[in-house]
Protein backbone atom coordinates (compact mmCIF):
# COMPACT_ATOMS: atom_id res chain seq x y z
CA UNK A 1 0.00 0.00 0.00
CA UNK A 2 1.34 3.42 -1.02
CA UNK A 3 0.82 6.50 1.14
CA UNK A 4 1.77 9.86 -0.36
CA UNK A 5 3.34 12.51 1.88
CA UNK A 6 3.18 16.00 0.39
CA UNK A 7 6.02 18.49 0.79
CA UNK A 8 5.14 22.15 0.33
CA UNK A 9 7.80 24.87 0.56
CA UNK A 10 8.07 25.32 4.33
CA UNK A 11 6.78 21.87 5.33
CA UNK A 12 8.68 20.49 8.36
CA UNK A 13 7.26 17.13 9.31
CA UNK A 14 7.25 15.30 5.99
CA UNK A 15 10.19 13.06 6.95
CA UNK A 16 8.67 12.02 10.26
CA UNK A 17 5.33 11.36 8.54
CA UNK A 18 7.06 9.24 5.88
CA UNK A 19 8.96 7.35 8.57
CA UNK A 20 5.72 6.70 10.50
CA UNK A 21 4.11 5.31 7.33
CA UNK A 22 7.07 2.99 6.76
CA UNK A 23 7.26 1.83 10.39
CA UNK A 24 3.54 1.02 10.23
CA UNK A 25 4.31 -1.30 7.29
CA UNK A 26 3.14 0.76 4.32
CA UNK A 27 5.28 2.41 1.64
CA UNK A 28 5.67 6.17 1.80
CA UNK A 29 5.75 8.07 -1.48
CA UNK A 30 7.14 11.62 -1.60
CA UNK A 31 4.81 14.08 -3.36
CA UNK A 32 5.85 17.63 -4.28
CA UNK A 33 3.44 20.55 -4.10
CA UNK A 34 4.02 21.32 -7.76
CA UNK A 35 3.32 17.75 -8.93
CA UNK A 36 0.35 17.25 -11.19
CA UNK A 37 0.43 13.52 -10.42
CA UNK A 38 -0.47 11.57 -7.28
CA UNK A 39 1.84 8.69 -8.32
CA UNK A 40 -0.83 6.02 -7.80
CA UNK A 41 -0.96 6.44 -4.04
CA UNK A 42 -3.79 4.87 -2.02
CA UNK A 43 -3.86 7.59 0.63
CA UNK A 44 -2.33 11.01 1.26
CA UNK A 45 -0.86 12.75 4.32
CA UNK A 46 -0.52 16.53 4.52
CA UNK A 47 2.18 16.97 7.16
CA UNK A 48 2.87 19.79 9.58
CA UNK A 49 5.05 22.83 9.14
CA UNK A 50 4.74 26.35 7.84
CA UNK A 51 3.83 25.89 4.19
CA UNK A 52 4.45 29.08 2.22
CA UNK A 53 5.62 30.69 5.46
CA UNK A 54 2.01 30.77 6.74
CA UNK A 55 1.66 33.90 4.58
CA UNK A 56 -1.84 35.38 4.33
CA UNK A 57 -3.39 32.65 6.54
CA UNK A 58 -2.04 29.23 7.49
CA UNK A 59 -2.73 26.90 4.57
CA UNK A 60 -4.31 29.60 2.40
CA UNK A 61 -1.66 29.53 -0.34
CA UNK A 62 -1.01 25.77 -0.18
CA UNK A 63 -4.65 25.13 -0.89
CA UNK A 64 -4.06 26.34 -4.46
CA UNK A 65 -0.90 24.27 -5.09
CA UNK A 66 -1.24 22.05 -8.20
CA UNK A 67 -1.10 18.82 -6.18
CA UNK A 68 -4.02 20.00 -4.00
CA UNK A 69 -6.44 20.00 -6.94
CA UNK A 70 -5.74 16.29 -7.31
CA UNK A 71 -5.99 15.68 -3.55
CA UNK A 72 -9.35 17.49 -3.33
CA UNK A 73 -10.65 15.47 -6.27
CA UNK A 74 -9.42 12.16 -4.83
CA UNK A 75 -10.71 12.99 -1.33
CA UNK A 76 -14.17 13.70 -2.74
CA UNK A 77 -14.06 10.26 -4.36
CA UNK A 78 -13.21 8.61 -1.02
CA UNK A 79 -9.41 8.48 -0.85
CA UNK A 80 -8.19 8.60 2.76
CA UNK A 81 -6.51 11.94 3.54
CA UNK A 82 -4.92 12.89 6.86
CA UNK A 83 -3.92 16.51 7.57
CA UNK A 84 -1.73 17.03 10.61
CA UNK A 85 -1.33 20.52 12.11
CA UNK A 86 -0.55 22.70 9.07
CA UNK A 87 -2.12 19.89 7.02
CA UNK A 88 -5.34 20.31 9.05
CA UNK A 89 -5.22 24.03 8.27
CA UNK A 90 -4.82 23.26 4.55
CA UNK A 91 -7.82 20.87 4.65
CA UNK A 92 -9.98 23.59 6.23
CA UNK A 93 -8.84 26.18 3.70
CA UNK A 94 -9.62 23.62 0.96
CA UNK A 95 -13.14 23.22 2.41
CA UNK A 96 -12.59 19.47 2.67
CA UNK A 97 -13.24 20.01 6.38
CA UNK A 98 -15.46 22.67 7.99
CA UNK A 99 -14.29 25.44 10.31
CA UNK A 100 -10.91 27.12 10.60
CA UNK A 101 -7.85 27.12 12.83
CA UNK A 102 -7.08 30.48 14.41
CA UNK A 103 -4.43 31.97 16.69
CA UNK A 104 -4.06 30.19 20.06
CA UNK A 105 -6.20 32.01 22.61
CA UNK A 106 -3.16 33.00 24.72
CA UNK A 107 -1.09 33.92 21.62
CA UNK A 108 1.76 31.59 22.67
CA UNK A 109 3.29 29.00 20.37
CA UNK A 110 2.70 25.76 22.26
CA UNK A 111 5.09 22.82 22.17
CA UNK A 112 4.37 20.04 24.62
CA UNK A 113 3.21 16.48 25.08
CA UNK A 114 -0.59 16.54 25.09
CA UNK A 115 -3.14 13.99 26.20
CA UNK A 116 -6.02 13.53 23.78
CA UNK A 117 -9.03 11.25 23.76
CA UNK A 118 -10.00 9.38 20.61
CA UNK A 119 -13.73 9.98 20.20
CA UNK A 120 -14.51 8.55 16.76
CA UNK A 121 -12.62 5.34 15.96
CA UNK A 122 -14.56 4.62 12.79
CA UNK A 123 -12.56 6.82 10.43
CA UNK A 124 -9.96 5.49 7.98
CA UNK A 125 -7.24 6.86 10.29
CA UNK A 126 -8.45 5.90 13.79
CA UNK A 127 -9.71 2.31 13.58
CA UNK A 128 -6.69 0.99 15.52
CA UNK A 129 -7.90 2.85 18.63
CA UNK A 130 -10.77 2.20 20.98
CA UNK A 131 -13.38 4.92 21.34
CA UNK A 132 -12.55 6.73 24.58
CA UNK A 133 -8.88 5.66 24.44
CA UNK A 134 -6.51 8.31 25.78
CA UNK A 135 -3.11 8.81 24.20
CA UNK A 136 -0.22 11.26 24.64
CA UNK A 137 1.37 12.80 21.53
CA UNK A 138 3.16 16.11 20.87
CA UNK A 139 1.19 19.29 20.23
CA UNK A 140 3.13 22.16 18.64
CA UNK A 141 1.44 25.08 16.95
CA UNK A 142 0.69 28.78 17.12
CA UNK A 143 -2.64 28.65 15.31
CA UNK A 144 -4.46 25.60 16.64
CA UNK A 145 -7.68 27.05 17.97
CA UNK A 146 -10.51 25.28 16.14
CA UNK A 147 -13.36 27.70 15.38
CA UNK A 148 -16.66 27.31 13.54
CA UNK A 149 -20.20 28.65 13.84
CA UNK A 150 -22.73 27.15 16.26
CA UNK A 151 -24.58 25.33 13.52
CA UNK A 152 -21.43 23.61 12.23
CA UNK A 153 -20.40 22.71 15.78
CA UNK A 154 -23.80 21.14 16.47
CA UNK A 155 -23.53 19.21 13.20
CA UNK A 156 -20.02 17.93 13.98
CA UNK A 157 -21.10 16.81 17.45
CA UNK A 158 -24.44 15.40 16.30
CA UNK A 159 -22.92 13.37 13.49
CA UNK A 160 -20.07 12.03 15.61
CA UNK A 161 -17.50 13.81 13.49
CA UNK A 162 -15.28 14.93 16.36
CA UNK A 163 -12.33 12.53 16.03
CA UNK A 164 -10.30 13.61 19.06
CA UNK A 165 -10.56 16.01 21.99
CA UNK A 166 -7.95 17.54 24.28
CA UNK A 167 -7.98 16.13 27.80
CA UNK A 168 -7.74 18.56 30.71
CA UNK A 169 -7.33 22.31 30.31
CA UNK A 170 -8.06 23.70 26.85
CA UNK A 171 -4.59 24.32 25.35
CA UNK A 172 -5.54 26.80 22.64
CA UNK A 173 -9.17 27.89 22.92
CA UNK A 174 -10.57 25.30 20.49
CA UNK A 175 -14.36 25.02 20.62
CA UNK A 176 -15.51 21.97 22.59
CA UNK A 177 -11.83 20.98 23.13
CA UNK A 178 -11.71 19.77 19.53
CA UNK A 179 -8.30 18.38 18.49
CA UNK A 180 -9.45 16.64 15.32
CA UNK A 181 -12.48 16.25 13.04
CA UNK A 182 -13.55 14.23 10.03
CA UNK A 183 -15.74 14.76 6.97
CA UNK A 184 -19.15 13.13 6.49
CA UNK A 185 -17.65 10.10 4.80
CA UNK A 186 -14.91 9.56 7.41
CA UNK A 187 -12.06 9.39 4.86
CA UNK A 188 -10.68 12.90 5.49
CA UNK A 189 -9.31 13.60 8.97
CA UNK A 190 -7.68 16.77 10.31
CA UNK A 191 -5.71 16.60 13.53
CA UNK A 192 -3.85 19.40 15.34
CA UNK A 193 -1.45 17.29 17.47
CA UNK A 194 1.28 15.16 15.89
CA UNK A 195 0.98 11.35 15.90
CA UNK A 196 3.98 11.05 13.55
CA UNK A 197 6.26 12.32 16.33
CA UNK A 198 5.10 9.56 18.68
CA UNK A 199 5.71 6.26 16.93
CA UNK A 200 8.53 4.89 19.10
CA UNK A 201 9.72 5.62 22.60
CA UNK A 202 13.27 6.45 21.50
CA UNK A 203 12.23 9.63 19.69
CA UNK A 204 8.76 10.39 21.02
CA UNK A 205 7.01 10.68 24.38
CA UNK A 206 5.13 7.44 23.58
CA UNK A 207 4.50 5.13 20.63
CA UNK A 208 0.78 5.87 20.83
CA UNK A 209 0.65 7.87 17.61
CA UNK A 210 1.46 4.86 15.45
CA UNK A 211 -2.20 3.80 15.46
CA UNK A 212 -3.11 6.51 12.94
CA UNK A 213 -0.72 4.91 10.45
CA UNK A 214 -1.60 1.26 11.14
CA UNK A 215 -5.30 2.22 10.88
CA UNK A 216 -4.87 3.28 7.28
CA UNK A 217 -3.07 0.04 6.47
CA UNK A 218 -5.98 -1.93 7.96
CA UNK A 219 -8.51 0.21 6.09
CA UNK A 220 -6.80 -0.67 2.81
CA UNK A 221 -6.34 -4.39 3.49
CA UNK A 222 -10.06 -4.82 4.25
Amino acid sequence: MRVGVITFPGTLDDRDAARAVNVAGAQSVALWHNDADLKNVDAVILPGGFSYGDYLRCGAISRFAPVMNLVIDAANKGMPVLGICNGFQVLCESHLLPGALTRNSDLHFLCRDQEIEIINNETAWTSAYKSGEKIVIPLKNGEGSFQCDDETLAQLEGEGRVVARYVGQNPNGSRNLIAGITNERGNVVGLMPHPEHAIDELTGPTAQGLGFFTSILNAMVK
Binding site: L56, P98, R103, S105, L107, C148
Partner: protein, 81 residues
Protein backbone atom coordinates in the same frame (compact mmCIF):
# COMPACT_ATOMS: atom_id res chain seq x y z
CA UNK B 1 -4.16 54.58 -11.93
CA UNK B 2 -6.68 53.32 -9.39
CA UNK B 3 -6.10 51.79 -6.00
CA UNK B 4 -8.47 49.13 -4.76
CA UNK B 5 -8.50 48.52 -1.04
CA UNK B 6 -9.71 45.27 0.49
CA UNK B 7 -10.20 45.32 4.26
CA UNK B 8 -10.46 41.92 5.92
CA UNK B 9 -11.70 41.62 9.51
CA UNK B 10 -12.40 38.63 11.72
CA UNK B 11 -16.15 38.15 12.15
CA UNK B 12 -17.40 39.78 15.37
CA UNK B 13 -18.13 36.42 16.99
CA UNK B 14 -14.60 35.07 16.38
CA UNK B 15 -12.17 35.56 19.26
CA UNK B 16 -9.32 37.93 18.30
CA UNK B 17 -6.40 37.22 20.67
CA UNK B 18 -4.13 39.67 18.81
CA UNK B 19 -6.63 42.51 19.16
CA UNK B 20 -7.05 41.65 22.85
CA UNK B 21 -3.26 41.74 23.34
CA UNK B 22 -3.14 45.20 21.76
CA UNK B 23 -6.07 46.35 23.93
CA UNK B 24 -4.21 45.14 27.03
CA UNK B 25 -0.95 46.82 25.98
CA UNK B 26 -2.47 50.28 25.40
CA UNK B 27 -3.17 51.14 29.06
CA UNK B 28 0.34 50.01 29.99
CA UNK B 29 1.60 52.85 27.77
CA UNK B 30 -0.81 55.33 29.28
CA UNK B 31 -3.40 55.18 26.50
CA UNK B 32 -6.74 54.78 28.21
CA UNK B 33 -9.19 55.48 25.39
CA UNK B 34 -9.81 51.95 24.11
CA UNK B 35 -12.81 49.88 25.16
CA UNK B 36 -11.76 47.09 22.78
CA UNK B 37 -9.48 46.51 19.78
CA UNK B 38 -9.98 44.25 16.76
CA UNK B 39 -7.08 43.65 14.38
CA UNK B 40 -7.52 43.02 10.66
CA UNK B 41 -5.71 43.00 7.33
CA UNK B 42 -5.67 45.60 4.56
CA UNK B 43 -4.74 44.84 0.95
CA UNK B 44 -3.88 47.65 -1.47
CA UNK B 45 -4.17 46.63 -5.11
CA UNK B 46 -3.00 48.98 -7.86
CA UNK B 47 -4.58 48.85 -11.31
CA UNK B 48 -3.96 50.70 -14.57
CA UNK B 49 -6.91 52.94 -15.38
CA UNK B 50 -10.31 53.00 -13.72
CA UNK B 51 -11.63 49.56 -12.77
CA UNK B 52 -14.61 48.31 -14.75
CA UNK B 53 -17.63 46.71 -13.07
CA UNK B 54 -16.43 43.34 -14.33
CA UNK B 55 -13.00 43.90 -12.81
CA UNK B 56 -14.50 44.90 -9.47
CA UNK B 57 -16.55 41.72 -9.54
CA UNK B 58 -13.30 39.82 -10.08
CA UNK B 59 -11.74 41.55 -7.09
CA UNK B 60 -14.78 40.56 -4.99
CA UNK B 61 -14.32 36.99 -6.12
CA UNK B 62 -10.60 37.04 -5.31
CA UNK B 63 -11.33 38.54 -1.89
CA UNK B 64 -13.79 35.74 -1.19
CA UNK B 65 -11.52 32.99 -2.54
CA UNK B 66 -8.03 33.97 -1.42
CA UNK B 67 -7.75 37.24 0.50
CA UNK B 68 -10.27 36.24 3.16
CA UNK B 69 -11.55 33.00 4.66
CA UNK B 70 -15.34 33.46 4.70
CA UNK B 71 -15.61 30.90 7.51
CA UNK B 72 -14.04 33.33 9.99
CA UNK B 73 -13.64 36.67 8.19
CA UNK B 74 -15.67 39.44 6.49
CA UNK B 75 -14.26 41.73 3.81
CA UNK B 76 -15.06 45.08 2.20
CA UNK B 77 -13.83 46.14 -1.26
CA UNK B 78 -13.60 49.85 -2.15
CA UNK B 79 -11.88 51.99 -4.78
CA UNK B 80 -9.61 54.75 -3.49
CA UNK B 81 -9.10 57.81 -5.67
Amino acid sequence: MAKIVVDVMLKPEILDPQGNAVANALPRLGFNFAKSVRQGKRFEIEMDGEPTTAQLEEVEKAAETLLSNPVIENFVVRVEK
